[in-house]
């Protein structure tokens, strides 16, 4: 027994509320307010985990986010949670990571005995023979830390909050609280955040007094002054990233089981009062459990009433450990203070033995530290070793904001260099030590009077304590990644002397703690070994996040349909009531077919009946973009491959839109309503992109007063009536216009009314049969659809899903852009060469139709592909193949393929090399290794004369 809970004290715990949880199957007693680490220490659990590589036993090092060792998997929460920041809860189940069966008795501990053969980066030097794959599974199984529960599901979506403020203060220690108060006093709106559960920073456990009051009182008063004035304080909230334009990301932890919350904060000014972190000291086996940060030991004593040992050695290179020595002595421990400095020491606390000018050379012990040997050979028996290797200002956020650091020889730390716009650094992060210095530092930027330190003042005396090349034993630099001083020396020997190479070669600083305790020691040693100064050696790039952030915080509510909402038809409910099976097409949820468990049969049936009588189809998703204005005709001429200005009002024309690279971008019908008004109809999935292109050309080339463009797609529903009986069906309804073919011929548009609303009736056809597209206000479409269905009963009308429509259009050889064309298809490949050959005016993509590749003889061209009637359809995606010398090569592929119910045979479309000139030729096809033969035909397999348009 060495660590124990004292009977009194502990500012963070509530002794009236005991609780128990389990760690590695062992029952642990704790109080509300304890962190898991505090409770483990109070229960004298020395070994809390195993290291990443050598499976060395490791104990609690720190008391906060810098913790490299004490990671635990918490059931229901996730892997790799820091025991130093996670609160103990009743019934919580924690398991140590990377240990089997548990941290105290890890089966893989033997690996440490082979450490000399597996130094940093050893894996690059071996396992090449016979093959890395032979070794990888075992290496992988040994790597990793905690375990993911594959059955875990998110309890609820994480919140995400946007916030604006004048001043964001990161860190609610003495500097941050003061900065926040001053900013508030100056009339600014303030957001103050701190990653700990409570404000105060070092004031929580360090001696001090402010404005004549105890620190605790000053903290409370400062905070209530802030929040009372309407400013916001977020505890348990980590500012983890500063991004472009000084957007700051926060992760807020909740204590009620909710997922963490992501805050996106847009402050006018950022004050980083992020404090400093204590470094370890380099000596052999400085990673043994029971060796911890001196400051952390003070936190555990004063906040959790845990005295971490009875016979304690404190080793330091600076003044901050003296208060720790005094406090632990007062708490009944026997303390020996080893100060590597010979001179200018602070006065010795009462009852503390001080050994000046001495250092620890090595620690001894099996699964916890039992003794230390000093550099003069003295051996001291201990149950706990506390170390303070100096303080590293926490400048991660400053670095993320691309702030440059400047090395301070005097303080042996990196401090902020040139300022970054909108960001100030204050307090210990800026190198201040005593409260007086901290307050003076904060006040420098303002006119308001700062608080006055009236209690004990810390002093900042320090000498460097860097690892030295060639030192005996294994001096641990990065605890979590298992990097020793020898590894750093090895890297330097092998020319990995860039600090970024050192990091990657040894993995120093790449663990979950991102090297908060280890980076400076590593680069100082590298500097020494490579004969450079620390300033010359430099630091690695700071990257977000400051501490690991739950992925759920970033995802927020974006899951399922909210990932990318589907668009829905105005008549969706009617289709559902009719038994439609929906699928997503181009972002829209549309009926694939209606009714029946047998999809194939339902689709065939719809396609067959559509040719026999009449079909109803909901085509509302079709793009309807209006082009209006004095230059509208010139505009559509430029936009389309085909000449469109010759189109007469009231008529429709099919055409292509090209990209500037000549490739067919979209196809569709252009309607001319009157001299200056057109409707561009485009493919469902291209509406947004076509609209954007039209706007771009309008603004870039034609001007605002020449053309106006309006996307009316979602305003109008379009219902199609197609088939031999379509005219008769429509004649039974009162549509307010003449259906006579002389008045409304194929490719004409007329205006009528339905139930008082404007109805546009276009005689255009995607089925090859006589067709009428009826467009009406989207919110009145339901009545029209019901009327059509009612009227359709007399004609055996069928409702078409999209799949059956695909068959009908393929029978006619009509293409679907992106399915029957690819990213190289030009209009001449689709048999439309006229405009290319004849047009004299410019249009989008024109010049690209005359490049070398556009005029190449071996282009893929649209064809039909026929197989024998008794064979199954070709597989879409099957390729035509050609033996070209020793090589097999593709000569095109099947783009669409169906069984045609009206022709009672398979039909297919494809893009085949020189296809247009090869009709009648039989070619070899290959699909997933299977070979077949097909005959090249014209694309149109049904009613090539087009008689049915007017049938």
């Amino acid at each position: 027994m060495s660590a124990e809970r004292l009977n009194t004290g502990g500012s963070a715990i509530d002794r009236a509320r005991p609780l128990t949880f389990s760690f590695d199957g062992r029952k642990v007693e704790a109080f509300v307010g304890d962190t898991i680490a505090a409770a483990l220490l109070a229960n004298d659990v020395a070994v809390v985990g195993r290291s990443f590589k050598y499976h060395r036993p490791r104990g609690v090092w720190g008391s906060g986010v810098e913790e490299p060792n004490a990671l635990v998997d918490i059931a229901g929460r996730g892997p790799n949670m820091r025991a130093t920041t996670e609160l103990a809860r009743q019934g919580l189940v924690a398991l140590s990571v990377n240990a089997s069966p548990d941290a105290a008795h890890d089966r893989s501990a033997f690996l440490d005995r082979f450490a000399r053969f597996i130094p940093a980066a050893f894996y690059y030097k071996t396992f090449m023979w016979p093959d890395w794959h032979r070794f990888e599974p075992r290496i992988r199984a040994m790597a990793g830390l905690g375990k993911v529960d594959p059955a875990w599901t998110a309890p609820e979506a994480a919140d995400q909050i946007n916030h604006h403020c004048d001043v964001l203060v990161v860190g609610a220690g003495p500097a941050g609280l003061t900065a926040a108060r001053i900013a508030a006093h100056d009339g600014k709106s303030v957001l103050l955040v701190d990653e700990r559960m409570v404000p105060g920073g070092s004031l929580r456990h360090r001696d001090g007094g402010i404005d004549g009051k105890p620190s605790a009182q000053w903290i409370t008063e400062s905070l209530s002054a802030l929040t009372g004035a309407g400013h916001l304080f977020l505890p348990a909230t980590t500012a983890f990233g500063i991004y472009d334009h000084n957007l700051v990301a926060l992760n807020q932890r909740h204590q009620d089981g909710r997922p963490d919350t992501l805050w996106r904060v847009r402050p006018r000014r950022i004050i980083l009062a992020t404090g400093a972190l204590e470094r370890p000291l380099p000596f052999a086996d400085n990673d043994l459990p029971g060796i911890m940060s001196a400051d952390a030991a003070l936190v555990y004593l004063r906040c959790y009433a845990v005295r971490v040992g009875r016979r304690i050695v404190i080793a330091t290179n600076n003044d901050s450990a003296y208060e720790v020595a005094e406090a632990l002595t007062d708490a009944g421990a026997t303390v020996t203070l080893i100060d590597m400095r010979q001179h200018d020491l602070p006065s010795a606390p009462k009852g503390v033995t001080i050994l000046p000018g001495r250092m620890i050379a090595s620690a001894q012990g099996k699964s916890r530290v039992e003794s230390v040997t000093l550099d003069d050979g003295t051996k001291l028996t201990v149950d706990s070793v506390l170390v303070s290797g100096g303080w590293t200002p926490t400048l991660h956020l400053f670095g993320q904001a691309r702030g440059k650091l400047a090395w301070s020889e005097k303080r042996a730390v990196f401090l902020p260099g040139d300022p970054v716009e909108g960001i100030a650094v204050a307090g210990a992060a800026n190198g201040a030590v005593s409260l007086s210095e901290v307050f003076a530092d904060v006040a420098r930027a303002t006119s308001s009077p700062p608080p006055i330190s009236t209690g004990r003042e810390a002093s900042g005396g320090v000498v460097p304590a860097w690892p030295i090349a060639g030192a005996k034993g294994r001096i641990w630099i990065d605890y979590q990644s298992d990097v020793t001083a020898k590894d750093v020396e090895l890297a330097a020997r092998e020319n990995f002397v860039s600090v970024e190479h050192l990091k990657r070669y040894t993995t120093l600083g790449m663990a979950t703690d991102q090297g908060k305790t280890s980076n400076l020691l590593g680069l100082a040693l590298l500097a020494g070994v490579s004969g450079r100064s620390i300033a010359e050696t430099g630091t690695t790039t700071y990257r977000p996040p400051f501490t690991p952030v739950p992925l759920t915080s970033f995802a927020g509510p974006r899951s399922g349909e909210l990932m990318a909402p589907v668009r829905r038809l105005p008549l969706e409910n009617l289709h559902r009531a009719q038994g439609a099976v929906f699928q997503e097409y181009g972002g829209w949820l549309r009926p694939a077919f209606y009714g029946g468990a047998d999809a194939e049969r339902a689709i065939q049936d719809e396609a067959r009946r559509a040719r026999q009588s009449v079909a109803l189809f909901d085509g509302s998703t079709l793009g309807k973009i209006e082009v209006i204005g004095p230059q509208a005709a010139a505009f559509v001429d430029f936009i389309y491959y085909n000449t469109m200005s010759t189109l007469k009002p009231g008529r429709c024309r099919y055409g292509f839109m090209l990209s500037e690279n000549g490739v067919v971008f979209d196809d569709g019908i252009l309607v001319r309503l009157d001299e200056h008004r057109f409707i561009v109809s485009c493919s469902t999935s291209h509406v947004a992109a076509v609209h954007a292109r039209l706007e771009e050309w309008r603004q870039d080339r034609f001007g605002r007063d020449a053309v106006y463009i309006h996307n009316a797609t979602s305003e109008m529903a379009t219902l199609t009536v197609s088939g031999p009986a379509s005219k008769q069906l429509l004649a039974t309804l009162d549509l307010g216009l003449s259906l006579d073919d002389a008045d409304l011929p194929h490719m004409a548009i007329g205006e009528g009314r339905f139930a008082g609303d404007l109805l546009r009736v276009a005689r255009v056809s995607f089925t090859g049969d006589r067709s009428y597209e009826l467009s009406i206000r989207a919110d009145r479409a339901e009545t029209l659809w019901r009327s059509l269905r009612q009227a359709g009963k007399a004609f055996d009308a069928v409702t078409l899903g999209l799949e059956a429509l695909m068959i009908l259009r393929a029978e006619k050889g009509y293409i679907v852009i992106g399915k029957d064309t690819d990213g190289t298809t030009m209009p001449q490949d689709l048999g439309v060469d006229g405009p290319r050959a004849k047009r004299q005016t410019d249009y989008v993509g024109r010049r690209s139709l005359f490049t070398e590749v556009a005029q190449a003889p071996n282009r893929l061209q649209l064809v039909g592909l026929a197989v024998r009637e008794d064979e199954p359809p070709l597989a879409p995606g099957a390729h035509g193949i050609l033996q070209d010398g020793p090589k097999l090569r593709s000569q095109g592929f099947v783009t669409s393929s169906y069984l045609s119910p009206v022709l009672e045979r398979p039909i297919a479309l494809g893009l085949i090399e020189r296809g247009a000139a090869r009709q009648g030729e039989t070619i070899d096809m290959q699909h997933l290794g299977q070979k077949r033969r097909a005959t090249i035909t014209a694309p149109c397999a049904f009613d090539p004369s087009g008689a049915r348009f007017n049938a």
């Binding site: 030097k125 992988r140 790449m510 690991p548």
Partner: protein, 417 residues
């Protein structure tokens, strides 16, 4: 001193305290003149130097690196190696790279940890399955391994994927390449550097090219922060910074530079044994040997040279990942970063002589340069040694933007090329 890497040498050095290892590569002072100079000490530049020395016997070569070798996109990518391409030209190029990767560890005497754990590119609809079939058939015809996977096949290789019917992007199947996988990115750079240095190549770090020496219409050398160096053949392999050097040489390239972000989770025990790409979410993920989830997504939307991650893209990528693997909601993000990639209209690389004679290009790899390193090096080395294309590099010449013979894989591959 120990030079050769093996289990035995590691053991021997273990007994001696690992003190006998030679520097992995030399850091000599730059000379005034070389037979060839390669600008850019990333994977492509170092590989070029290696193949120049090994294949063509040209060893009087310098690799000039602005910062530290492997510090650009080589050290910032998501380490996927694959060759599942649609067009025969691409298959020839990436197939060459893939084959060289398969022997690279032994060739370089450096374990690059090629892990051929397979990659599944998912399909989320029936029409995507048709396109996938088109792709798989094209690859099989070109002689590259590829299979069309059913949902059940996908379930077998990625059992923790979200197969729920409620998923935003349901799984219909996918394209499987079994030989695909990952490799250790840093090791590729270091392995090539060590092998090239061993053959006599000078690797010069902290050496930024500030200008070209041009005489009689030819590139004759470079001006650098470490002095002038002359060579009759100069290659550049500087990815996202290609346009910057091109401007110094007096020409434009068909390149826009964008940040491509990636991130890793904390390390966990093995849970994902393959590389998974979802075109719906635009996200791909694999688990590194260390146990981290290595996560990539689409390009940033804003042209940039700032090698810095941002929030909007990250949020999109992570929400996509959790849609694919809900259980990863337990994980935490450990690190986020960005590389600057050289995006070309057809997303295929540019290999060949530049408009400035004597200066040769290896650029335009966009988001997919890592997997091509051995081929990029082989082809640029061939150009530098012979002054001519070989059959594989010919289609990727800059002149394709004039002839229109673009090699646009957009139809055949998802975002992860």
């Amino acid at each position: 001193m120990t030079r050769r890497y093996s289990a035995f040498s590691l053991f021997k050095e273990g007994l001696a305290g690992q003190t006998g290892w030679e520097p992995a590569w030399r850091s000599p002072s730059p000379r005034k003149s070389y037979d060839a100079i390669i600008i850019g000490g990333g994977g492509h530049g170092l590989a070029t130097a290696y193949y120049l020395a090994k294949t063509h016997g040209v060893t009087n070569v310098a690799v000039l690196e602005k910062g530290w070798i492997g510090g650009g996109n080589t050290g910032r990518n998501t380490t996927v190696v694959r060759s599942n391409y649609y067009y025969p030209e691409s298959v020839a190029l990436y197939g060459l790279a893939h084959r060289l990767y398969e022997g690279l560890g032994q060739d370089l005497n450096y374990n690059v940890m090629l892990s051929q754990r397979g990659m599944i590119s998912l399909c989320h609809s029936a029409i995507e399955m048709e396109i996938a079939a088109r792709t798989v058939n094209a690859m099989q015809i070109s002689g590259i391994d590829a299979e069309l996977y059913s949902v059940d096949d996908v379930r077998r290789v990625a059992p923790i994927y979200n197969f729920s019917a409620q998923a935003r992007y349901p799984v219909f199947g996918g394209v499987w390449q079994g030989r695909a996988g990952t490799a250790r990115h840093d090791a590729v750079a270091w392995g090539y550097a060590r092998a090239a240095s061993g053959l006599g190549v000078d690797i010069i770090q902290n050496c930024e090219v500030t200008d070209f020496i041009i005489a009689d219409g030819r590139c004759r050398g470079v001006v650098t922060t470490r002095g002038e160096m002359r060579a009759e053949r100069i290659g550049m392999a500087v990815a996202g910074h290609s346009s910057v050097l091109a401007a110094k040489a007096g020409f434009h390239l068909p390149i826009n530079s964008y940040a491509l972000q990636a991130c890793v989770s904390e390390p966990v025990k093995p849970i994902l044994d393959t590389v998974v790409l979802s075109p719906g979410t635009g996200v791909y993920v694999s688990q590194s040997d260390k146990g981290e989830m290595v996560i990539g997504g689409a390009l940033d939307r804003i042209p940039s040279y700032g090698q810095r991650g941002n929030l909007p893209t990250l949020e999109g990528v992570i929400s996509g990942l959790l849609e694919m693997f809900p259980a990863f909601g337990q994980l935490k993000l450990m690190r986020q970063w960005a590389g600057i990639v050289d995006v070309v209209p057809d997303s295929s690389p540019i290999i060949g002589e530049s408009p400035l004679p004597g200066l040769f290009l290896n650029c335009g790899w966009g988001t997919g340069g890592f997997k091509a390193i051995p081929a990029g090096g082989t082809l640029l080395a061939h150009l530098l040694a012979t002054g001519k294309h070989n059959d594989i590099s010919r289609p990727f010449d800059l002149d394709r933007f004039v002839t229109g013979r673009l090699i646009d894989e957009a139809a055949g591959s998802g975002i992860a090329h």
